[in-house]
Amino acid sequence: MFKALRMENDACTGCHQCEMMCSYGKVGAFNPAKSVMNISVFKGGAANIPSTCTQCEEAWCMVVCPVEAITVNSVTGAKEISDEVCVGCKVCTIACPFGAINYDADSGIVTKCDLCGGEPMCVEACPTPALAYVAEGSTGYEKMRSYAAAMIDLDDSPVQ
């Protein structure tokens, strides 16, 4: 089974360490504008939401690419862009439902998360539990459980 990024909104403090490390991996400079992991800040900083590509099983970006620039890494499952093949047509940016693939005007091609070959640098950089690299089956369960726990005290319930 592949691993996936798990993002916990509640734990994120909005420090942008992930963006710095990600951009370093992508462009060789600490430059949050070039990061493919993005922190969106809401409620005056009380809500910080990390987001990036979730590596869809059936990836629409890959399906629509007219030049087959996006391929699956057989080790990590990441959908990776070939810089040489991409022609910068941006169709994938329209196809992605999450806005997780974006055009970079400086390089003339699109850019997205490639899981850093299986060692995501954003996870290494994160000083909180907000980012983790876990078995892909477990990305949502804990989150569902925490939302459920907000409504019912699970510790008191007979069945766990």
């Binding site: 420090c15 942008h16 370093y24 060789g28 600490f30 430059n31």
Partner: protein, 615 residues
């Protein structure tokens, strides 16, 4: 590398912007931010200049670690001659603006002269332009920032601006960035206002590069691990913020209360970190909503707070029923203990107003405390204060006076001059809790002796962030010293002053030093920058900066006689707590301090000292 090597010079009189190379020789000697900007100021201006005249310059400065992966790399500073003190001013801020400026490719912006009309500076990477700000003049920090970000259509742009306080020349007006982070002290916002500069908006996508990226990652990761494992930076500050100190400092009897008449405040718990986290009776919500990080910071000590919507301060004001920058320890102390007010939501409201209109809450709270002292002594009456009954502990009067000061109305204009000028005017200079005309913060030097020497010798007027000996005297970091003892404090203060000057100049946050030492920070500078950045050299740069600032102040007219404390701390004994019966014994520490500094008995650096430091 580390440095971008570029300075943006903005001539406000001519309306022009120009790029010039950073003086790399100075960068090696003064590192960045506080040190390097002060060097530029000294070389380019007369220390006797009127701080609010066009001849004063104002520098926005980043450090070599600003915008890098180094933990707490979001720091930047505003450097100029301070109008509150007449001394060197360097006010340090966090948030995101500094890193954005660095990402746009600039180490510093030097503002000179005065614009004929209100302007703001618009920066996109290497393009910079002054634009008309007539429509923004008279607007708050919050309105200005929101308007400029909307105007650019880019949520990632960052803004530093002044509110009404900076426009009106409040002598402790702040420059506020990212809605509630402030270059707060010494009145740098009034200097910005005097130049008719309303705001700077910046978007940077160039990126920050370092000399040795692998060493940068390695040293930063190691520093982050130490910060995470440390009880203060890994637990206390993230959970409680700086407000973790309120009950601790009150308990030992070092919380200056009601303008320093007492050292313990009976309402301390009501305005503490613990109180911020308690659900209110009224709406079941806590004042504290969450913590928040500045750029690159794993500590995350900032508070996000929300006032009870039914509280009298915000009941009919939806604009304040928001999640905003909450109380930090110094603000909670100044607005609360110094005035005797213990209504948490009222203090949070006052803090919001400080963020909104750009005021330093330390000087504001302390000046309000002094005004209450004048009121209690009968030196002013309600006929002076527009009918406001300015008694210690009167919450409604406190709130009304905060609003009047922010808007520059009535007696608020007197409050806006700071406690020194106000107390002089009303015949009680001894009521002013200031050093070099700047209000001292939340640690009473009768109960923490080292802080007396810290305040007395701070180059920017009374300040805790120039040598935070509380760390040693109360928290036991790096080693415990007795707060009631003066022996050894001269050396302690000197060591903290030099190390802090170096840390500030690197572009990282002084809060890291609860866990990190020069052994951890210097290697990050070495990874980012060309040159020799051994621990010894790192600290030497700090000492050089301290002496340079001292030289500036001497040239501005200060003497050793200004290295003193308010009489109340030297003559009136603490009434309770661990220091009951004690005063601050500055005279036991100051001569030794001068000697350790290599200064003569009048507090002037000797030729030998200046030569040793290359000054």
């Amino acid at each position: 590398m580390g440095w971008t090597g570029k300075i943006l010079r903005v001539d406000l009189g001519a309306g022009s912007c120009a790029s010039e190379p950073l003086n790399m020789e100075w960068a090696q000697a003064y590192m960045g931010q506080r040190g390097l900007a002060t060097k530029y100021l000294i070389e380019e201006t007369d220390p006797k200049v009127d701080p609010l005249s066009p001849e004063n310059k104002m520098i926005f400065a980043t450090g070599p670690l600003t915008g890098t992966i180094a933990p707490t790399s979001g720091r930047w500073s505003v450097v100029c001659k301070g109008p509150l003190t007449g001394a060197i001013a360097c006010s340090n801020s966090g948030g995101f603006f500094g890193a954005e400026l660095k990402n746009a490719g600039w180490d510093m912006i030097i503002f000179e002269g005065r614009s004929a009309g209100p302007v703001y500076l618009d920066i996109s990477n290497d393009e910079a332009e002054l634009k008309d700000a007539s429509d923004l003049w008279g607007k708050s920090v919050w309105e200005t920032e929101t308007t400029l970000i909307q105007r650019r259509g880019d949520n990632d742009a960052r803004v530093a601006s002044i509110g009404l306080a900076g426009e009106n020349g409040v002598l402790y007006a702040a420059v506020v960035n990212d809605m509630d982070r402030a270059a707060g002290r010494s009145g740098v916002g009034a200097v910005m206002g005097s130049k008719n500069l309303k705001a700077v908006v910046v978007r940077g996508t160039v990126g920050v590069t370092v000399k040795d990226p692998m060493a940068m990652m390695k040293t930063s990761n190691s520093a982050k691990e130490i910060l995470a494992e440390n009880a203060v930076t890994g637990e206390g500050l993230p959970t409680h913020g700086t407000q973790v100190l309120m009950n601790v400092i009150n308990e030992i009897g070092a919380l200056p209360t009601r303008n320093g008449h007492e050292v313990q405040f009976e309402g301390a718990h009501n305005i503490s970190a613990e109180a911020m986290a308690e659900p209110r009776d009224s709406d079941g919500q806590a004042n504290l909503v969450s913590n928040h990080a500045c750029f690159g910071c794993p500590i995350s000590c900032a508070r996000r707070s929300k006032i009870d919507p039914s509280h009298f301060t915000v009941k009919d004001k939806p604009g304040y029923q928001i999640v905003g920058g909450g109380l930090e320890y110094e603000a909670a102390w100044a607005l609360g203990a110094a005035t005797g007010v213990d209504d948490l939501d009222a203090l949070t409201y006052a803090n919001f107003v400080c963020n909104e209109q750009g005021l330093d809450p330390i000087s504001l709270g302390s000046t309000l405390g002094a005004a209450m002292d004048l009121y209690a002594a009968g030196s002013i009456s309600s006929s002076d204060t527009d009918g406001i009954e300015l008694e210690f502990g009167n919450t409604e009067a406190f709130v009304a006076m905060v609003e009047a000061t922010a808007r520059g109305e009535g007696f608020g204009k007197e409050i806006g001059q700071g406690s020194k000028r106000m107390c002089d005017k009303y015949g009680h200079p001894e009521f002013s809790m200031t050093v070099k005309s700047q209000e001292f913060p939340a640690y009473d030097p009768r109960g923490i002796q080292g802080m007396g020497l810290t305040y007395a010798t701070s180059n920017r007027g009374a300040c805790h962030l120039r040598s935070y000996t509380v760390s040693s005297e109360i928290l036991g970091i790096p080693e415990k010293t007795d707060p009631l003892v003066t022996e050894g404090k001269a050396g302690l203060v000197k060591a903290f002053q030099d190390a802090t000057a170096a840390v500030d100049s690197s572009g990282t946050c002084v809060f890291t030093t609860f866990a990190l030492s020069g052994e951890d920070i210097a290697p990050m500078v070495a990874a980012a920058c060309e040159g020799d950045w051994s621990v010894e050299r790192f600290v030497e740069v700090g000492e050089r900066i301290w002496n340079m600032e001292r030289q500036y102040n001497i040239a501005a007219g200060f003497t050793g006689a200004d290295d003193t404390l308010p009489e109340r701390l030297l003559k009136d004994a603490a009434k309770s707590g661990s220091a009951e019966g004690a005063v601050n014994r500055l005279d036991e520490m100051l001569p030794e301090y001068y000697e350790l500094r290599g200064w003569d008995v009048t507090g002037v650096p000797t030729a030998e000292t200046l030569g040793r430091l290359g000054l």
